[in-house]
Symmetry: C2
Subunit: 195 residues, 2 copies
DNA sequence: GTCTATACGGCGATAGAC
DNA sequence: GTCTATCGCCGTATAGAC
């Protein structure tokens, strides 16, 4: 059972509510800095009630990872409807511009989670970098479709590296213009590239 | 007073010892996951004694930031002795290969600290990204020396982005070969570049 | 299913003997 | 300067009434 009805109007269930709050807070503050009390306050769900929906805090972390992975999958599915692989890759770079503000403030939601997860030896959030892997594999696929063979992998990794690199630098420099310029450069690279 | 003597032999003082432990542990586990007990155990200094050398945990964090900044400055000074700016930039990429193992395991010590610091609103570690800024400025200087004018800044940022991006991807994919390939690509980019 | 009160443990920090 | 013992807080998690 996932959603309740009230006066015939569909309402978001609390689990979704909590997850959405956790997602936002973790993006802004990181997993470790985000307390269950934070999530409770932000989602207006009482602290103790969280445990009805999630067994542990690590569970919430994993749910957020899963959420971001499915968000990425949706995006990729969307991009795949474009005709040429080059158009898809370019469209991907445009999503960076669309999320400019958040990226400069909080960094890339995929990479930051992945990096933080790598530092927690406890017993949790182990598959965070599978999200980034997903992105890399998608990029490689695009380059293969463009006619690349042995070096499609290298090009795909280069593409993703470029994206992640610019977010790191933009955040450190607190300068959204960095993203504009680097996306432009990345597009030029895509145009000039030859196999 | 910074170092003590024992039998005429110079010994590292405890502050340095603690700092070195903190540096290593924070690189491996992150600042938040690293407890004072960790540092005490690793450096074999009793927990309570840490407070003789550092007022708070945040102080330790800041000292580590300073340490990494001065390490970077030393490296840049070293590279500056090379004749051409292009040779300096290439030599910089080679330091990535030299630290391959650690980077794949723990990521870039500069970027990871910078990112984690950005998520801690508390009252500490505010100037972590000044280190990355230092690197960017140095890179820009190199491109200016190469004859670039208005777009030297963009090229410098692109260079650093490339470096930081490859470390993120290499860590997520847990694949040191990524670094080999991307460094190679970066060198080719430096050779083919024209102003 | 919902919510309050509270137990429990860990970590940063301090007191104070030596 | 060094080190042990311990305090106090905060964050996760649980008990249990409703």
């Amino acid at each position: 059972m996932c959603s309740t009805k009230f006066n015939g109007k569909k309402m978001v269930n609390k689990r979704e509510l909590l997850l959405k709050s956790a997602d936002e807070l973790i993006h802004a503050q990181g997993f470790q800095s985000t307390t269950l009390a934070d999530i409770a306050r932000h989602s207006k769900v009482p602290l103790g009630n969280i445990y009805y929906y999630f067994k542990t805090k690590a569970d919430i972390g994993n749910a957020v990872i899963q959420l971001r992975e499915s968000k990425l999958q949706d995006l990729l599915k969307q991009l795949d409807q474009l005709e040429t692989p080059k158009a898809r890759l370019k469209a991907m770079t445009e999503t960076i511009i669309a999320n400019k503000k958040d990226i400069v403030k909080y960094g890339c939601p995929i990479a930051s989670l992945s990096q933080e997860a790598g530092k927690i030896e406890d017993s949790m959030i182990k598959k965070a970098d599978s999200i980034l892997r997903l992105l890399v594999d998608w990029a490689i696929k695009q380059f293969k479709e463009m006619g690349f063979r042995q070096n499609a992998r290298m090009k795909g990794i280069q593409f993703v590296s470029h994206i992640e690199g610019m977010t790191v630098v933009a955040q450190a420099l607190k300068d959204p213009v960095v993203l504009d310029c680097q996306v432009k450069a990345l597009k030029i690279w895509l145009d000039d590239i030859k196999n």
